[in-house]
């Protein structure tokens, strides 16, 4: 069975996490490391995908600055999105050559693992035809944006656990004028760590890999 190392980066800046991903992608391409699945929680950040339209940003740069929101243009797919505290961000760095050489299957799998994890908390989430992401009755709860280079993935997904949804007002999420929700807004009280734990389990199942957690968590 293929192996995948899960790491929690904790609270980390978007750019910092991105640099780390670049490093790991380079190492993954050279076969120096197994697949990786990184978790992160970002401070308030609005990111624009490669195909994003600035028109979907509803605030000026000055307004974002004064609200304490960083703005970053990235090389992932998808449009504009918001990251912030209370949101589980997942960055799988997988060599799809060892799974399926199929980007659509990959995106569907990212949706599936989020749907399965949400089901563990009693939330029935599904897909919305033509709108990649994870949806609960027309409300978006999980967003996806991926970059692939030589079949190695980076970027990933963002699932709203207890995200402050007000921040989405600064953007038209993914360029869609559909509302955004979170687990908390749906009445489910869950901690980031619990959600990460379920996501890791379903990730292992969906991608048919063995999840390795670094066994040392407490060291002096």
């Amino acid at each position: 069975m293929r192996k995948c190392e899960v790491r929690d980066l904790g609270r980390i800046g978007f750019t910092e996490a991105f640099e780390l991903q670049r490093e790991l992608v380079a190492q993954r391409k050279q076969g120096l490391i197994p697949d990786q699945f990184l978790f992160a929680e970002h401070p308030h950040t609005i990111t624009l995908g490669r195909n994003g339209k600035l028109a979907n940003l509803r605030a000026s740069a000055a307004a974002l600055r004064s609200a304490g929101i960083a703005f970053v243009e990235t090389d992932r797919g998808g449009d504009i999105t918001y990251h912030g505290p209370g949101q589980v961000v997942g960055y799988p760095i997988l060599d799809l050559k060892e799974w399926k050489r199929d980007v659509v299957a990959y995106v569907r799998a990212l949706e599936q693992m989020q749907m399965d994890a949400l089901a563990d908390f009693g939330i029935a989430a599904g897909r919305l035809s033509g709108c990649t992401g994870v949806w609960v009755e027309g409300w978006k709860i999980g967003a996806i944006g991926v970059h692939i280079s030589r079949w190695v993935t980076s970027h990933g997904f963002a699932l709203n656990v207890k995200t402050e949804l007000d921040y989405f007002r600064y953007i038209v999420p993914c360029g869609l004028s559909r509302p955004v929700t979170s687990m908390a807004a749906l009445g489910v009280r869950a901690e980031i760590e619990e959600v990460q734990e379920r996501l890791a389990v379903h990730f292992g199942r969906v991608f048919e890999c063995e999840i390795l957690k670094p066994e040392l968590e407490r060291v002096v």
């Binding site: 490669r50 399926k100 659509v104 991926v146 030589r150 066994e215 968590e217 060291v219 002096v220």
Partner: protein
């Protein structure tokens, strides 16, 4: 000529949108070097060049959606042949890896590499990359910097023709380098992360008390042979200190707490982590309910956990759930040190070398067994006075040791 086609990125995919050309027509490309980007359903993909050569024709513009297998560009391989021939004519020793010298840095550079190059004032055009298509990677840059550092005077930058410029600067190979790069092990990365996290999280303050260990030393001397005979292990000072710490934790339970956000988490169990040095790192296995154990029980637990830590046979729950930690740097000869708190705990006790020293007892100079104990505490939660009361309690238990060991 090689046709470059829109690739099929999945079974059900019939078309793709070309979002960005990473090379311009007429530019040189290496095989496998990223050539353009396509977008399919929230996924951006870099497509590598199928062959080396000159990007002769760009047939599809950015933003255009085309069916898979549509020819989007053509690469002229002869362009590559011409360059290769030129390189072949130069008398320079053939470079170990193929990418021919380029006037400009080859391929897109990561922001990290650009930044490093700027900071170190490196002319990337003079470097040869080992990444895809001769791309300059961080490793290349690090190796280059290492070599540059090793060379006393940087060779004067020879004027224009880059092919000639390479001749007086033969790439010094690894054996001349004064440094060696090694990726950190997972454990090392974990330790690094944890240390920095701790320093960033807690307000570290260290207080040091001097402890007269004479009574403990006598107790240990009295029992050590019996102990060795009965349990097959030597009796050290560490279980005495752990016992004293457990008693002090009972007296000052806040030192046994942890911080979560703006909450203080009080732990009803006293679980003491003992830092164990490994060959290439360290680990802190935990003695659960340490306050319920005798010196014998503590010594056995310490020896058992340390042995299994070194043979990597600890179970996951044996390295979790500690509420306080002890580190015994004295065993390496240190008199005292300022340990780093093991998050999310709020204090760690360091034990220095136990040695004979002259001290004043009743206005006379006496020879006593002395030791410094250092408590690093999180000043967010523990005030200085409390830190010293706790450490004073440890000291007083050790100095007035009366409990029999066997």
């Amino acid at each position: 000529m090689t046709d470059v086609v829109m690739p099929q990125m999945g079974e059900s995919i019939v078309e793709g949108t070309l979002t960005k050309w990473l090379k311009k027509a007429g530019e040189r490309v290496e095989r496998d070097e990223p050539l353009f980007e396509i977008s399919t359903d929230k996924v951006d993909t870099e497509i590598p060049a199928p062959a080396a050569g000159t990007l002769a024709e760009v047939l599809i513009g950015e933003g255009t959606t085309v069916a898979i297998n549509t020819v989007v560009a053509r690469i002229d391989e002869n362009g590559a042949a011409v360059v290769a021939a030129k390189v072949g004519e130069t008398p320079a020793p053939p470079p170990p890896s193929p990418p021919p010298a380029a006037e400009e840095p080859v391929g897109p550079l990561s922001p990290l590499v650009r930044r490093m190059a700027r900071e170190h004032n490196v002319d990337l055009a003079r470097m040869r990359g080992t990444g895809t298509g001769g791309r300059i990677t961080k490793q290349d840059l690090e190796a280059y910097l290492a070599q540059r550092a090793a060379t006393p005077a940087p060779p004067p930058p020879a004027p224009p023709p880059p092919v000639e410029a390479r001749v007086p600067v033969p790439p010094p190979r690894a054996e001349q380098a004064k440094v060696r790069f090694e990726p950190m092990s997972v454990m090392r990365q974990k330790i690094a992360e944890h240390m920095v996290l701790s320093k960033r999280t807690s307000a570290h303050v260290t207080t040091v008390h001097r402890v007269d260990m004479t009574r403990v030393a006598r107790m240990r001397d009295k029992h050590k042979d019996d102990f060795q005979a009965r349990y097959g292990m030597s009796l050290t000072y560490l279980p005495f200190v752990a016992r004293a710490a457990a008693e002090a934790l009972r007296a000052y339970p806040i030192v046994n707490a942890s911080v979560e956000g703006t909450n203080i988490v009080h732990h009803n169990e006293i679980n003491i982590g003992i830092a164990v040095a490994l060959e290439n790192g360290l680990i802190v296995p935990v003695i659960r309910n340490a306050d319920e154990k005798t010196v014998v029980g503590l010594q056995r637990a310490i020896v058992d956990l340390a042995a299994r830590a070194r043979s990597r046979q600890l179970k996951p729950d044996e390295v979790h759930g500690g509420t306080f930690s002890i580190t015994n740097f004295g065993s390496f000869g240190s008199i005292f040190a300022t340990p780093v708190i093991n998050q999310p705990q709020v204090a760690i006790l360091g034990v220095g070398l136990v040695e004979k020293a002259p001290v004043i007892v009743d206005d006379a100079i006496a020879i006593r067994w002395q030791c410094y104990i250092a408590l690093t505490f999180d000043h967010r939660l523990i005030d200085g006075a409390l830190g010293d009361q706790f450490t004073g309690k440890v000291k007083s238990v050790l100095e007035n040791w009366s409990e029999e060991v066997l």
